[in-house]
């Protein structure tokens, strides 16, 4: 039984060999593209369930491949980047990548990211027709119609912004949301250059829902990138 078909865009033979073994063993079907151009044509010829995209490609920037894909499809894309490519990573996420992995990464980390990305959760900004009435992670429970938030059975009162922020993150558990995405969704497009808005409200939110705000369980920071809601 196949968990899904993955298009791997990567030119390094060793990484390819490793991923082919690991992903094949885990039950994924793997297709390989060694450069950006063949990746774009392969994706168009037979759309995969997920694209695993290396940002450093021989013929073009991974960013260009991502933009090319996003012109016509919402297929989940997870980018692979090296440590010193912070900006490229954030740019890729802002341009519509679903998640990222920094080399070197562990197999466990890889599987978790793929699982989250393939969950077909709606991307931020998509219409959320089939929204559940209640979100629940651990001791945290949010009743959407009533706008009520409980932590371990104790009700907490949130400001409208804190509420929107929390709901946005909870709807995409395990997925990183960049500052830009959060600002755009919660405050509107005028606020995208004010990352401290997020930081201040995130600090307040943590004080209300975390046991120890400096050692959070739910609202995790991806420094330099954004925030991720703990996945289960």
């Amino acid at each position: 039984m196949s968990l899904g078909r993955i298009l791997l865009v990567e030119d390094d033979v060793a990484i390819v060999r490793y991923l082919r073994t690991v992903l094949g063993h885990a039950g994924y079907e793997l297709e390989l593209a060694e450069d950006g151009a063949s990746a774009l044509s392969a994706a168009a010829a037979r759309p995969p369930d997920l694209v695993l995209l290396d940002l450093g490609l021989p013929d073009m920037d991974g960013q260009q491949v991502l933009e090319g894909l996003r012109e016509w499809t919402r297929i989940p894309v997870v980018v692979l980047s090296a440590r010193d490519q912070e900006r490229a990573k954030v740019a890729a996420l802002d341009a519509g990548a679903d998640d990222y992995l920094t080399k070197p990464f562990s197999t466990g980390e890889l599987m978790a990211r793929l699982r989250v990305a393939l969950r077909h959760s709606p991307r931020p900004g998509d219409e959320r027709g089939a929204d559940p009435a209640e979100l629940r992670v651990g001791g945290l429970r949010v009743e959407l119609p009533a706008r009520r938030v409980d932590v371990d059975g104790r009700e907490v009162r949130l400001t409208p912004i804190e509420f929107r922020l929390l709901v946005l993150l909870m709807r995409h558990p395990g997925r990183v949301l960049t500052h830009k995405i959060l600002l755009d969704e919660v405050w509107g497009p005028d606020a995208v250059d004010e990352p401290h808005y997020v930081r201040v409200h995130m600090a307040n939110l943590r004080r209300k829902i975390e046991v120890d705000p400096s050692q959070p369980r739910y609202l995790l920071t991806e420094q330099g990138v954004g925030y991720r809601f703990a996945d289960g």
């Binding site: 009162r157 004010e194 990352p195 201040v200 995130m202 004080r207 400096s214 050692q215 920071t221």
Partner: protein, 907 residues
């Protein structure tokens, strides 16, 4: 056998000098002089004929300048030779066409023909004289052919003048002639020359011909021919001797003759100096020109003339020395003895006996006390001596002018006082005393002229008012003539003494100032480092003490001079001035205002010479624009320039020493990096490779396989961490670390670091104290989180997982403190600072968790890039405290407020 006669051994110094001369020649251009007894002998003709021969042989020969004097033969010869265009100079309404030195340098022919070596260039040219142009060409390696008449040779100038009655002022130093490579004597029989002169072949224009009629007489021409042939022969003789000595031929150098000539201010000194040069040259002897400067002695104008004579001697090839002392003859004799001088030459002139207090008879003293030294007294009939221009004009001269007001006032007062005394019935003798007092006062305060007039007026007044018959000028008694003479003598003596005192005081004041400037400058420079700072200090000091505009110019990478300090003299905005400075720098000779080279420049440029070479140029623009510094100031400037040059040199040497130290340090670091890195990379690689190859083999049981796999994972982690650290360090050292500040919450940064720590080290207790009201702080979140992670990771590794890890944030007024604390064994004494060095490692709790020793170095670099500090301290009660202190900068931004408890609001 053992004692070879010293005469046979070639003097090594001389040998060296000849060698140097020879080597100098090989890079220098060669100078060929066509030498004749007078105009019209056919020097130019001969030169142009040779030029044609050279051209035919394919030599790149160019005519730089040729005067044809309207002679058709010369014109005909010029045809067919490449001519350099002339430079047209406008001078006093006429157009002068001059030799274009720059064009010649740019053209760079193999041989350049420049007629008339003794020519004086038009004002505004680079050099005042053509022979200086030629010297520059030779220095640049261009061969030069030129012409010269005997009367233009400096040492023969006066002799020729006395024979022909025509003294020319255009002269060429003998050194140029003697050091030329080839002399071609263009000789002609006097009768033939006279014939040519009468035919108008020498001077085309009749008026010129008439003017020269006195010169072109047979007796003159015979004498000139003899002088010129003898001079040329002398020179050849010298060449032959040089050649012979070079081959080590024996020659009796029984005595080394050394001539010393006394240089004074009198115009006759010129004659003495020229004679000395001839005698020294005849004896092939070294000669020294010595001037004695008497402290505070005499007229400053004398000093200037004396200096001019020294310069003359220098151009004639003398070694020049200035002695200090009151006793002129004594100083000269002492110096002569110290230098083994065999002959002293001195002029006998009226000037020597003029000043009565100097102790007369320098000549007598020399004759009496000279001992073994020959004293040659040269007749100083200065009737047709033209005083030389003092090279440095203006400056200190402080003549006491005639003061009519003081004169009248003093005399009126004296007359009134005398009238009063007379009223008291005092005698004439006492009345005269009052006038004497007035004259004395005038002499002391207002100088000789005023005092002289005072004594005259005093006598008249005394006569008019007090001597019978009163109110007339009739004098019955010659006694009053004596009164006048006494007054006059007193005026003379007192004013002279006063003037001397004043100049002495002035001299000592100047000396004091000079010492003061030198002292202050050297102290200032000694305490300054950095070339720019030294230049600035020198400019500041010199400008303050000399009152001139002073600028230091140093070469940039392209060897182009640039003013060092921003507020340089405005005169340097002129490209021309910079060009003069550049010339000075390239040639190492002073140039600009007051020198022989480019005297029309607005400033004086002195090369900054240090033992290691030329470091730059000092530009001095005299205060008020045009007044040049006096000779004393000039010498002071030269001394100051060498002081500045030495300071710059010292700084450069220091800089070099420092940079080589830094380089050695870097080298040591690189070596330790290589050894450390290669070890740290190889160990995990060995483990991974070994474990992996074992895993490929069959027959391993499950626990063994697990053990190996765990090894591989752990070592891979270690390798990853090491590579990360190495990359960070490389980026920091390459200056590539950019701090991207954003407003961050410290709570979040600490939380992020702890989350990451737990991801790699597993769940472990960390106590966090962050004040609830901690403001946002502007910093680079990624970097600071990494610092916190490194510090925590370090604590886990060296103190242990349960060593009471703690992070404490404290917000102060102007700074922010973050302490990462543990209760482990602490940092060993003496290591608190060292642990921040690269590749310094402590002893970890578990031997498998060794790092590369880079983590703390990176942390410190990051914190310092934020303008903060990172230190390590021991905690009371045990453990380590790593303390980050960051400055709080700027006002934290605000966030739009919103009502609390609004979960009910619209999402």
């Amino acid at each position: 056998m053992t004692d070879a006669p010293t005469e046979q051994r070639p003097d090594p110094d001389r040998f060296l000098a000849e060698l140097e001369l020879e080597q100098g020649r090989s890079t220098q251009g060669r100078l060929k002089i066509f030498f004749g007894l007078a105009a019209g002998v056919g020097k130019t003709y001969a030169m142009l004929e040779s030029a044609h021969a050279q051209r035919e042989r394919g030599v790149d020969l160019v005519i730089g300048y040729c005067e044809h004097h309207g002679r058709p033969e010369t014109d005909a010869l010029l045809a067919g030779l490449p001519l350099l265009p002339r430079r047209v100079v406008a001078y006093r309404g006429t157009q002068l066409s001059e030799f274009d030195l720059d064009a010649a340098i740019a053209r760079r022919p193999a041989v350049l023909v420049v007629d008339e070596l003794a020519h004086t260039n038009a004002p505004g040219s680079r050099h005042p004289k053509r022979w200086q142009d030629v010297e520059e060409l030779l220095e640049l390696g261009i061969d030069v052919w030129t012409t010269l008449n005997v009367q233009h040779l400096e040492s023969l100038n006066d002799v020729v003048g006395s024979i022909t009655g025509v003294t020319v002022r255009e002269t060429v130093p003998d050194a140029v002639f003697d050091e030329s490579d080839e002399i071609e004597v263009v000789d002609i029989a006097p009768d033939e020359l006279l014939e040519r002169f009468r035919e108008g072949k020498v001077y085309g224009r009749p008026q010129a011909r008439r003017a020269m009629e006195g010169f072109f007489r047979k007796s003159n021409l015979v004498a000139l021919r003899e002088i010129s042939l003898r001079r040329a022969a002398d020179r050849m003789n010298a060449q032959v001797q040089t050649a012979r000595r070079g081959r080590g031929a024996t020659r009796a150098w029984a005595t080394q003759v050394r001539v010393l000539v006394c240089v004074g201010p009198s115009p006759t000194t010129q004659r003495v100096v020229r004679t000395a040069r001839r005698i020294a040259a005849g004896l092939r002897a070294e000669w020294i020109a010595a001037a004695v400067s008497v402290p505070g002695g005499g007229d400053p104008g004398d000093a200037e003339r004396q200096l001019a004579h020294l310069r003359l001697a220098e151009t004639l090839g003398a070694e020049v020395v200035t002695l200090q002392g009151e006793d002129v003859a004594g100083e000269i004799l002492e110096y002569a003895a110290s230098r083994n001088v065999t002959t002293i030459m001195v002029g006998r002139s009226r000037a020597a006996t003029r000043s009565f207090w100097r102790g007369r008879g320098i000549v007598d003293r020399l004759l009496r006390d000279g001992g073994d030294i020959d004293v040659l007294v040269v007749n100083g009939d200065g009737s047709n001596d033209v005083p030389l221009d003092a090279p440095w004009r203006g400056g200190d001269r402080r003549a006491t002018p005639f003061a009519p007001l003081a004169l009248l006032g003093a005399m009126l007062a004296a007359t009134l006082a005398a009238a009063g005394l007379r009223g008291l019935g005092l005698s004439d003798a006492n009345v005269v005393m009052v006038f004497l007092l007035a004259v004395t006062w005038l002499a002391a305060r207002r100088g000789f002229l005023t005092a002289l007039a005072g004594s005259l007026l005093g006598v008249l007044s005394f006569n008019f008012f007090f001597i019978e018959p009163r109110l007339t000028f009739r004098v019955h008694d010659t006694e009053y003539l004596v009164t006048f003479l006494v007054m006059f003598a007193i005026a003379a003596v007192i004013s002279t003494l006063t003037a001397r005192l004043r100049t002495q005081a002035e001299a000592s004041r100047r000396g004091e100032r000079r010492t003061d400037v030198l002292y202050r400058l050297s102290r200032e420079l000694a305490g300054t480092s950095g070339t720019r700072q030294i230049a600035a200090a020198a400019e500041h000091m010199l400008a303050a003490h000399l009152g001139d505009e002073v600028t230091v110019l140093l070469p940039d990478a392209a060897q182009e001079l640039q003013p060092v300090v921003g507020s340089h003299g405005s005169f340097l905005d002129d490209r021309g001035e910079l060009a003069v400075a550049q010339w000075t720098f390239e040639r190492g000779r002073p140039a600009g205002a007051g020198t022989e080279t480019l005297p029309d420049a607005r400033a004086l440029y002195l090369p900054l010479e240090s033992p290691e070479g030329r470091v730059g140029v000092l530009a001095v623009r005299p205060e008020g624009g045009n007044v040049l510094p006096s000779s004393a100031q000039y010498h002071l400037l030269v001394t100051l320039a060498s002081l500045v040059a030495l300071a710059i040199e010292r700084d450069r040497l220091g800089e070099r020493a420092r940079s080589s130290l830094v380089e050695a340090e870097a080298e040591r670091l690189r070596a330790s990096l290589l050894s450390s890195v290669s070890h740290d990379l190889r160990t995990p690689l060995a483990v991974i490779a070994g474990s992996a190859s074992s895993l490929l083999e069959d027959g391993l049981d499950e626990p063994a396989r697990r053990e190996l796999l765990t090894n591989v994972c752990e070592e891979a982690d270690r390798l990853a961490r090491l590579v990360d650290n190495l990359l960070s360090m490389t980026r920091i050292e390459a200056g590539g670390m950019k701090v991207q500040r954003e407003w961050h919450s410290l709570e979040e940064l600490v939380g992020g670091a702890i989350t990451r720590l737990r991801r790699s080290a597993g769940d472990l207790p960390v106590v966090v104290h962050v004040p609830a009201d901690a403001p946002l702080v502007a910093l680079d979140g990624v970097l600071i989180e990494q610092v916190l992670l490194n510090l925590l990771d370090n604590a886990v590794r060296y103190a242990g997982r349960d060593a009471g890890l703690e992070v404490r944030v404290e917000v102060r007024d102007r700074e922010l403190r973050i302490d990462v604390l543990d209760r482990g064994p602490g940092v060993p004494e003496g290591m608190h600072e060292r642990i921040f060095g690269k590749f310094v490692r402590g002893v970890p709790r578990r031997s498998d968790s060794r790092g590369a020793g880079l983590g703390l170095a990176i942390c410190r670099a990051v914190v310092e890039a934020h303008g903060g500090t990172l230190v390590c301290e021991s905690r009371s009660g045990g453990g380590a405290d790593f303390r980050i202190t960051l400055p709080r900068e700027g006002e934290a931004p605000t966030v739009p407020a919103e009502p609390e408890g609004a979960s009910e609001g619209t999402p």
